[in-house]
Symmetry: D2
Subunit: 366 residues, 4 copies
């Protein structure tokens, strides 16, 4: 059934296949009066775009987004915003050898089994190309969050195979092709990726997203917790296999006396929680990590079956990222922005009228 | 706004505070004709119940669930099922010292900031006591999944502080107070917990849930992916800080040639994916792990602030689990059952009519 | 699938059958800080209660509502509110003759066909008894609307069979057993009902609900229009077969020059629209009418079939309203309150932040 | 907040303003394997299109729909279907006199108050032009309903001002410009409309929609009743002010002995209920009526206010339908199709597995 809409009161409904006519979507619930242009959205689309560095796929997509409605005289009107990205690079191609085989690690087999048929061209709807519209929609949320609440979202690569970062400097993230915040690791990354490309193999990665200048109070109790919604959003990104908030899996060996963040009159003394307690934001930095599996499309030969169930050999040709984790950075930012905007509006729905909360702690430890 | 309902077409809406009159909920969307008794639900409530071992809180809750509607002559009618668990152990108590202070690591501060007021007795709605209704509702889903689809759900403790399991034997999980599937670790766990209790501290844990005999095809593309919904469900359990599907964070250092599961005429040759590809179940075992933080209520003294923002000392007295992870096992099972049942019904909504899929692979590697 | 929840961000999920253990529900999304007691809800439950006059069924239900959660120290906490009404009058009875026959005009046949089985005692879930929880939940919404926005809701009987009202005086509605706002019709109603009871037959009715002191701007464009949501809510009340907003079916023969309400600097000059334009409230009185069919349970003999498809005679015995329309008045008020409260919160979610609207017209024509 | 999505598991999310770049939408939840072409959708778009007769607006819109995704090799894939209709007739025009005034009977005033700003060109999102996408989406539902369940939907004009139909002949509905099913009224309609056009005024209408070959069992109990959802869908069509199911407002003066439809071994003996009992379809013809107000844009001079609140005179120029009711016929059909398809899928979600119902009554009275 319907599973192409994200969000509860700020919603994004998307459509479009990798090799179809266009990708698009409907963004609904954006407050009126927000200044918005196509350029606002293009920034992140360009960051996500393949072909921007030698470490991402050489496929040219262009990804020019059009706003078809919901913006009038430069401002949102409060009605739904139509987004469209035409697919330009639809090479006429012979798909016959893909059509009847299941690439290992891909959704070919599960789509075929679920639906009984599938658009086999480039993965169809299961292609990472679909995330372009998420990034465009996330751009609207990012602008709103920053303008109305001052919230900023910083995504970055925190590990690629064996190369892990030691420090985080937001200012250099967009200055290198890896979205890496640690200048001292750039050379190691470069070298690792060069060797990897030669081998025809691919590698996993860890990506982090941090929201700064967070308000306290976002998130609903019990089910629609802020951390739960974030976990769902991140695990919903192609190739993600794990999600952490704050200390994540490190808590398994932590003691209570070590983990709990002390509250002081000047704010929290630490941030093991990652900025969420009881599913509600604490006002501290919101810290999220995720693990992305290595690209399954590699030139290393493998085995699989065809649609008749016969064993066959497979070698993926064509243009593929050796590490999908890199390009996932702007996608992860977009998904976090969508979750936060939804929760900002939800919070306002319930909490504005009867009382007004002023944070008890003036500042918050980051 | 509303955040106390879980699921899309099989839904659970819950209410109730830790020290209020009762907990309860409405389970909606259960197909008619399913045999169901209160005993079916009591089994897991008893597994979750505190006071069952010396390692969980001594607080007696009883947790007797009543089915108030939706079942007639022993079978579900297709209408909504009302559930009620009365709170028996409401000790009249002096809460004045809790009322005006924020326990570190708890939701006291965030609830107060979000709502401007809070039910401070025992954490109110943010208490783990609330999960009793999730377990009861999950019991309905478990019964349905097993009877209609043959799906079985196995939850277990896979690590507690430094003690990690080496093997998994489902048959012993319910035979020990730790829900531990590795008999060789029981003594180490026992010893570790005894020392921990003496120290007044608490410890984190890793819990796993596996669904066996899974059908292929569950999960929606793009947003309502099976793994995304599972991640949201698990991160929504009190104290969970991380969620993994399949190899989880291990994929960060894996290569594509290593990670991708080969399809063979006899099924998948491995299960790195944890039973999900492209957000859709593969028919293999569904494998989920989660990290639970150590209990914040410990007798080790700490610092915090009161509701006026003044620094104060705090020592949590009373009956608390030194490891909340243990009791989370039946909760995690329940949440997985709720997700799977919702997706079974969703799958049927869209896919039954126009075609009927027979799995191409007869069996599946586990 | 799930169909027992009403509303989008202020939601009510209900359960319970006519002759089961209890009725209940979960009200979710109520802002914190609203003063609320069980007495607030009991007022309308008592108005709805059967047995209050000789024209409604003599069945004693009592309908004492309990608030089980979500209220602490006299105020809502922002968490979900559990409601419970125990069924007291469960006469042990022989249902064998009802169990295997389909009462004409009732949901017996459709429930049986839909679900394959049904709780045949007193109609089960399809009984009007279920509306008690809607009335209780509506009581919360009514209190909120009046306290926060000053909105008042007035329901009344505007026609019963051939007896139609000429004038509306809100002050007498609760002073007579018909909820009739026209004192000059009370005698005619009394006489009509007396004759009707003798004949053993039943009669239809028209009920109206008016919300006064409405804000401008409630309702979403295109699909979740205020009038659309009201129409759905009213048609969802048992026995309702028609809904009108403003002039309703009279517009079929109206000309544009006659129907359109002129705007003047002092407000609208008329209210043919019933207070809604383009799906959004105008700030005028919101005017809704609905038609309720005559009770199908009558002592006039009829024909029907049994569950085997055989023709049989049927005479409904027992305690039934000769006009269900009368008791529908508080139910219609409750449903309108639920819709309005949901839209108040929805409006706030989207519109509070970026701009703030002051009505251009100071007063509004009623 | 978000209000541009219709449906629960078969959903349509739309965007687009009257004079913007394009209208579009996302249709989600369509089962895979349905044969679908753009021509299938164009049929109803052409029926709805203005300029097809001298009685509807002369504005040329063309309304060519494009399917951008979700269909592969002529069949739906089960993923979301993107729809796009480009706006061709965007005359460069001087809107300055519309921009600062509120047309009476239009949504100008309410949109301005709700959002603080509005796209004033041709009504923006509140324009009936928006319904083009509903008609396109409804075309998908119509095809599904007919192919999979054999359900057919017939919309027609049943009254226009004083001219009411006496008989219904489905075969002539599409043969005349009024969608009138009674050949004997065509001349009267023609004459009435000619006089009306001369006067510069407009007129209301009554439109009916009937679904034949209905299955028994569609509709959920309590809140998501089939009739409730239909009432919401119809009242959500621009200009609709009243909705009836079956006998509608006639029930006000009916007696129970008269209204209740007798069940016989050969089916129902009458259809006062309009094919719905207890919110669930009976298998009889589903009969719905609605009242549409007269067009507010007329050349008869009127009074209104400008955006500063000053009184001004207004005469609407341009191309407008003297009776919007006529073109509402395909829109009403589309909305009914969307509701029925959603309920078909919902029914299947809950009811397919545990039991399978065979109707007790072989045929049904229409």
């Amino acid at each position: 059934m319907a599973g192409n809409t994200f969000g509860k009161i700020f919603t994004v409904s998307t459509f479009g296949e990798s090799h179809g006519i266009a990708l698009g979507g409907v963004v609904d619930g954006c407050p009126p009066g927000l200044e918005l242009t196509e350029e606002d959205l293009q920034v992140d689309l360009d960051r996500r775009k393949p072909g921007t560095s030698r470490y991402t796929t050489a496929r040219r997509e262009d990804d020019e987004v059009q706003i078809l409605s919901g913006v009038f005289e430069g401002k949102t009107t409060g009605t739904s915003i139509g987004l469209l990205i035409k697919n330009k690079d639809q090479r006429s191609q012979d798909y016959s050898n893909i059509a009847n085989r299941f690439r290992p690690g891909h959704a070919d087999y599960t789509y075929q089994q679920k639906y009984g048929l599938r658009d086999y061209r480039g993965g169809g709807r299961s292609s990472a190309r679909e995330t372009a519209i998420r990034v465009a929609a996330g751009g609207i949320a990012k602008k709103y969050l920053e303008q109305v609440h001052g919230i900023k979202i910083h995504g970055f690569l925190s590990q690629l195979g064996p190369v892990a970062i030691d420090t985080v400097d937001y200012s250099i993230i967009n200055e290198n092709p890896f979205f890496c915040p640690d200048a001292s690791k750039l050379e190691a990354l470069d070298e690792y990726m060069r060797d990897l490309k030669k081998s025809g193999d691919s590698i996993g990665a860890k990506v982090s997203v941090v929201a700064t200048n967070m308000p306290v109070g976002l998130g609903e109790p019990v089910f629609d917790r802020l951390d739960a919604d974030i976990a769902g959003a991140m695990m919903g990104i192609n190739a993600v296999k794990g999600v952490e908030v704050g200390d994540g899996f490190d808590v398994v060996t932590q003691k209570g006396s070590e983990h709990r963040d002390t509250l002081t009159p000047d704010g929290f003394a630490s941030n093991h929680s990652g900025g969420v307690l009881g599913g509600i934001s604490t006002g501290q930095d919101l810290v999220v990590h995720m693990a992305l599996k290595p690209t399954s499309s590699i030139s290393v030969p493998g085995e699989t079956i065809d649609t008749e169930g016969n064993a066959i050999d497979i070698v993926t040709k064509g243009r593929h990222d050796p590490c999908v984790g890199i390009r996932a950075v702007p996608i992860a930012e977009a998904m976090l922005a969508l979750v936060l905007m939804d929760h900002c509006l939800r919070h306002r729905a319930q909490n504005a009228a009867v009382h007004c909360t002023t944070p008890i702690i003036p500042g918050s430890a980051k």
